[in-house]
């Protein structure tokens, strides 16, 4: 409960102690309160990682222009596809289109990466590349829901919510599932970050790195002293009420303790967002000094992601910023149905250095072993042209990569056909991806269930295998 003693304690506490929130009775009380609502579960087995950072490339990155070189496209440029072409969104199927970019082999492993991503290429030896990813949806909203929740519609929990539900957060002063929302909300809407049928406490909190108020309602409207006075008053009235109501109810106790957590979050969140303690070298590593505002902003998200990992947050998702040259595509900036070359170049410039910087920084600080970075869009793009110079959606085979604890490094898994149209070897599904991520977190995807509407649901639905070939 909130009382004067706690306020004294608070003044005496160092900031760090407060943020960790476990070194005092204060934090423990809050923890117990939350735990009563959602027991933090133990992993099923020894975890390899503690946190996941999801760099979501909304709109769909072209794999044949990034991580899956296909010389046949140049050879057969302009010819029709020699295999059945699935229905496309725009029904505007043109000939085979070569990649406008050349590829170069990187690192000890010799992984070919296109010149779109020189910085990521330089981290090739840290990447676990999957070239046989598939999805079941061919449009953005459904594709976004599929890759985030396993199902094509609203109403199912995001992977981050599942993980938060399964493991809880290590930091009670910060939400366990954070979306850094410098960019736009992907098509399909904010419900994609929701907890579906899981209790709402597991849904994502949106942090706005560029906003005055980084988290909804986190900025008190009054001086700290005033707020403390109010909290003490509210708390004393609640206690009196509980007294004459005959002892009250456990939910009320929890509600009272939530005010303590909320109070501390008001400090923890601004402290998290405060980057003045980071060195200029670090900021440069993330591209925060870039003259390109989007690169700098994406870099800030990456740096915040590292800081969130340091604070024990389980699942962090980053958002791509819209391209100034096409503000219409706020939710799907990678979606180049036309002018692929210009659009992808602009987007790669935004994310390449920051994400490579994030991997490098995590590694340098010894955090990469306990973190998994996932780089993926909702689907890839067609090897044939749409119109003159664009590519349509292709969920039948595309590339994503992982980097971090428990997975192989400098490793390539699966392949698409010689045109990059269909995955043809070691095809991987969204369910396989999350089953594998859960495995790395020490969770058996078949045992992480929640009963709703008469059925036990899983993140991997009734599918999914841990892809052991990827494990280090």
């Amino acid at each position: 409960m909130f009382d004067e003693r706690l306020m004294l304690n608070r003044r005496q506490l160092s900031r760090r102690d407060m943020l960790l929130g476990t070194s005092t009775g204060f934090g423990l009380t809050a923890f117990a309160g939350l735990a009563a609502e959602s027991p933090a579960r133990k992993p099923h087995f020894e975890p390899k990682i503690k946190s996941v950072i999801f760099c979501f490339m909304s709109g769909g990155v072209s794999h044949v222009d990034s991580f899956d070189p296909k010389p046949r496209l140049a050879r057969d440029a302009g010819k029709p596809m020699p295999m059945p072409v699935k229905p496309t969104m725009f029904n505007d199927v043109k000939g085979i289109m070569p990649s406008p970019w050349s590829f170069k082999n990187y690192g000890q492993c010799g992984m070919p990466v296109s010149e779109l991503f020189p910085h990521m290429g330089s981290r090739a030896d840290d990447l676990c590349l999957i070239r046989s990813m598939t999805s079941t949806a061919n449009e953005h909203a459904q594709g976004n829901f599929v890759i985030h929740t396993g199902q094509p519609f609203l109403g199912f929990p995001n992977a981050g919510a599942w993980i938060n539900y399964g493991l809880g957060s290590e930091n009670r002063n910060l939400p366990g599932f954070v979306v850094l929302a410098s960019g736009g909300v992907p098509l399909g809407g904010i419900g994609m970050y929701g907890s579906g049928f899981l209790p709402a406490e597991h849904q994502a909190s949106l942090l706005y790195p560029e906003a005055l108020e980084a988290l909804s309602n986190i900025r008190p409207n009054e001086e700290d002293r005033e707020q403390q006075r109010r909290l003490a008053f509210i708390s004393s009235m609640d206690r009196q009420f509980m007294g004459h109501a005959g002892g009250g109810d456990p939910q009320i106790e929890t509600a009272i303790r939530n005010y303590e957590t909320a109070y501390r979050m008001q400090t923890a969140v601004p402290e998290l967002m405060e980057l003045s303690g980071e060195s200029e070298a670090t900021k440069r590593l993330y591209g925060m000094d870039s003259p390109n505002a989007n690169t700098a902003a994406y870099g800030k998200q990456c740096l915040l992601a590292r800081r969130l990992v340091e604070r024990g947050v389980r699942f962090i998702e980053l958002t791509c910023l819209m391209r100034p040259s096409d503000p219409g595509q706020i939710g799907n900036p990678w979606d180049q149905h036309t002018a692929l070359k210009e659009g992808h170049a602009e987007m790669a410039l935004q994310v390449d250095q920051p994400i490579a910087g994030l991997v490098a920084d995590l590694k340098a600080r010894g955090l990469l072993d306990q973190t998994l970075v996932i780089w993926a869009g909702e689907f890839g793009r067609t090897p044939f042209a749409q119109g003159a110079n664009g590519r349509d959606h292709n969920p039948s085979g595309f590339s994503i990569w992982l980097a971090g604890g428990g997975v192989k490094r400098g490793f390539t898994y699966g392949q698409t056909d010689e045109f990059g149209y269909y995955a043809v070897e070691n095809n991987m599904t969204v369910y396989d991806l999350w089953a594998t991520v859960l495995h790395l977190l020490g969770v058996d995807h078949e045992r992480l269930t929640y009963r709703f509407g008469g059925r036990d649901y899983r993140l991997s639905d009734v599918h999914g295998r841990v892809i052991r070939d990827l494990l280090a």
């Binding site: 059945p84 029904n91 706005y208 909804s216 109010r230 509980m242």
Partner: protein, 1073 residues
Amino acid sequence: MLTQARFALLLVVVEAAAAQSPGLEHFERKVRPVLVRSCQGCHGAKIEQAGLRLDSRAAVLKGGVSGPAVRPGDPQASLVVKAIRHLGPRMPIGGARLHPDEIEAIEQWVKNGAPWTDEPTAPPAGSKTIQERTKEYWALQPVTKPAVPSVTRQDWDRTPVDAFILAALEKSKLAPAPRADRATLLRRLTLDLTGLPPKPEELGAFQNDKSPNAYRHVVDRLLESPRFGENWARHWMDLVRYSESHGSQGDFDLPYAWRYRDYLIRAFNQDVPYDQLIREHLAGDLLAAPRINREDQINESMLGTAHLRMVEYGYIPVDALDDQLKVVDNQIDVISKAFQGLTVSCARCHDHKFDPITQNDFYSLYGVLASSRHGQVVIDTPGRLSRHRDELARLRVSLRGELARLWLAAKPDLSTELQPPSPPAAPPAADKKPPEPLKPDYGPLTLWRELKHTTAGDAFRAAWDRAAAGVRKQIADRSEFNARGGFRSVWNLERPSDYNAWFRTGNGLAAEPSKAGQFFVLTEGDRAVNGIYPAGVYSHLLSRKHSGVLQSPRFQIESDSISVRALGGNLAWARVVVENYALGNGGIFPATNFSDDTMRWIRFDTKYRRGSHAYIEFVTMDDRARTPGAAPADGRSHFGAAEVVFHDSDAPPQEEAVAAALLLEGPAIESLAQLSDRYLVTLRRCVEAWNAGTLTPAEAAFLDFFVRNGLVPNSLKQMPAAAAALIARYRALEAEVPVPLRAPGVLIGTAFDQPLFVRGNHLRPGPPVPRRYLEVFGSQPCSSPESGRLELAEAIASPANPLTARVMVNRIWHHLFGRGIVRTVDNFGRNGDRPSHPELLDYLAARFVEEGWSIKSMIRLLVTSSVYQLSSLPSAAAARADTANVLLQHARWRRLTAESIRDSILAVTGDLDTTLYGPGIDVYYTGKTESGGKIGPLDGARRRSVYQRIKRNAQNPFLEVFDSPKPTSTRGQRDSTNVPAQSLAMLNDRFVIEQASRWAGRVIADGGTSVRDRVERMFRRALGRPATAAEVSASLGFLARPGVTGTELLSHHQAWQDLAHSIFNFKEFLYVR
């Protein structure tokens, strides 16, 4: 395909097969899934590449162009094995090479002799026993009315309900808690019934009412309050996942969805019997005696089906059938959970694992629902719709006579008046491809233009012959083009038999098609009429405000193109609606917005959709299932339609009526003067035919040209007084014609039996399943040629249905006691909870039906019970023996719903605007959303939360923090989470702070000279009880600030705002006990 949710129950079928033979088990487990996933896409029912199908044993043995695919027992000789081993043809073409385990499995299967299980058409034998067994399940037993138990304690029970509760308590040796005090009781009752806290004067009245019926009076007052309907409608909205948009990319609005919300509020306030509500929800459009709201002149029953439209659609789905499956699945899920507490949607892939619901049940319901189409319905009463109808029709006839007289006398001076017409507007593109090339103009002026500079004599004669030959050649060319084009005329809507085979609604469409010669009176501007139409069907002959929906029967697309001969304006549209996908508006879902009032051919490219089921529709702007972006506000829109042809060529047919041909009749023309006369003669002939109702197509085209181009008097300035008066009168009456009120609903279409999708996979259709309700209730296939919705409604609304009443009384109980007698309110199946008080549940269900399914009577019964009026204080014994309070020894604490929290704040500050009904108020938000639409006012226009607009992708963030549900499926029991984000919202949200400030303003303005007095009033207002002395003194301490005197404090806004803000944060404010 593995895309489907709810695929989990596959094992039932597999196990049934396994029971038969290990070879079959191997086939089911290891082989069939591979064939389905990797082969049947090209070698199956839809496509037979190389003449080969791999979806039955017979087909496999027969093989394709290369011979049998399998030689049983001999893998080496089997083509299938060679192909997947990439020895010879490499299969699957363009797909993943099969996994070595899969290749091995197929080889093994061939070795086994290629055994094959036929698809189960009936439930597997084993499940019959499950069914028999589950029929004994409690929830499916008929409801009988148990006797009220006798209890030892005699002074406690007021209602039969109490006897059931007390009997259980006594069995556990527990005594019920004492009665709650009046203030607590009033707050509980007022919040439960209306969602708002009691007003101080209501508390005073109740405290001072010494009559034994004081409590009953309060109950009656609250049940009569309009606020009751608002609160209970919101509960209902959770069941039907009420939403005003469709979600997914774009989050398109569902036009006029809010009218359904208002319908619910009225229904709950008027205590419409529950069985009637069910009938309206499933078949309100089909009821023989619909419920008429005389005050608003609307047919209430029509509004019930709107919830069927509150589905989430994919965005331009490539696979429209897949999307339909998801949509119908959701409808079935909601209907079965909301009305029956059953999870029928679990049976999409095969028989329900726990409940006696078969896969056939799912597809029988699928047929019922998919046989109805998604569209807008008109809810006005016939009286309102036919306003001025007869007089407008009479005026039109008179006007035609007047105009004919005028036009017969007209002598258009061709030499000066005839200007070459401006080229007709390009036909609207049916899709994003370039429009069809314009045809050369063979209108009436063709000859005039060719000849007007020719001098008389031989030269003229030769020129005439040339021009005439040109016209004749044009006629022959068009006729030949149409003959060669492979056009199959499927519907000629000029024929009554074809027209009547279509489905139509709306007051604009007549019972019969129109002959040539129709027109409409322009309602503004200088022109009298628009033109003269050819034969066809028109939505607007009396008024363009009239509604019109004209839809073809369902058919399978088997041509690359479909062309329609049609016209329209003001965003009316024509579409090929593919697999009921309601949002298609172009591109891979063919559609066109009309902006051209001349009948012409419009081609839709349907190649992409070959094989799909579809229907064609013509609808006016406001009848569209999807709102046009910028709709004109006057509600005027129209269309006309004449013919539909299917063809594979990529140009539509050509118009065969050539107006210029009329001029060729008679002797050859030898001079311009003769030609001018020929024009005049022809014009008169056309006007006479028009007035006589005998226009030929060419005559109609000829006259139309003269009218549209002002070659006959069509300007009001040119009209004689009689005609001008007719038009003025017409316009005055037409202005009074009401725009029909639209609402979401469903429309009658071709009824069909849905083929079962084997394992829920829409690419594997099995045998059609007759439309009916669940087998477990003994439902018979639907005997009428209609969808079966009416039969479905009757089956659910029947007193004999064991679930309907039980589920509903349990929901009411849940809302009043915080927990259902069956805790899982949406699941009465075996996976749900069993009832804590089964006899009580049955007693209530029986009584509910006896009392005419009255929801208010049931609520009155429950809230007047002793058990409802218990204090929330548990006895020591109860706290020990029944920690979860299942036995209801005392009242449960409950957090207010999100809406109640927001509404309570508004009520307490005095800001609440209790206006009923109307379009949703835009949501206020500062964070990011996807297509969230306009940002609304911070205070939500001070209206109750039930009036907040609900966009699927951008819901009210304040309400969401307190668990307002996502509109995805039935949510009879909300989450009641308890998280720091709620504290942050109550502490820092701008809405809360702004309201605290307004309350402070009112407290100061209301005056009062005593700080203490004000504090006491604030407590009474917010918490519904007097403040204790300790609370008053603590509040005074909180209000006090250094250097502020007592008098100054009276007008110190910040101090009072701080107190107001704090009170909002009291747990007592946020909870009810």
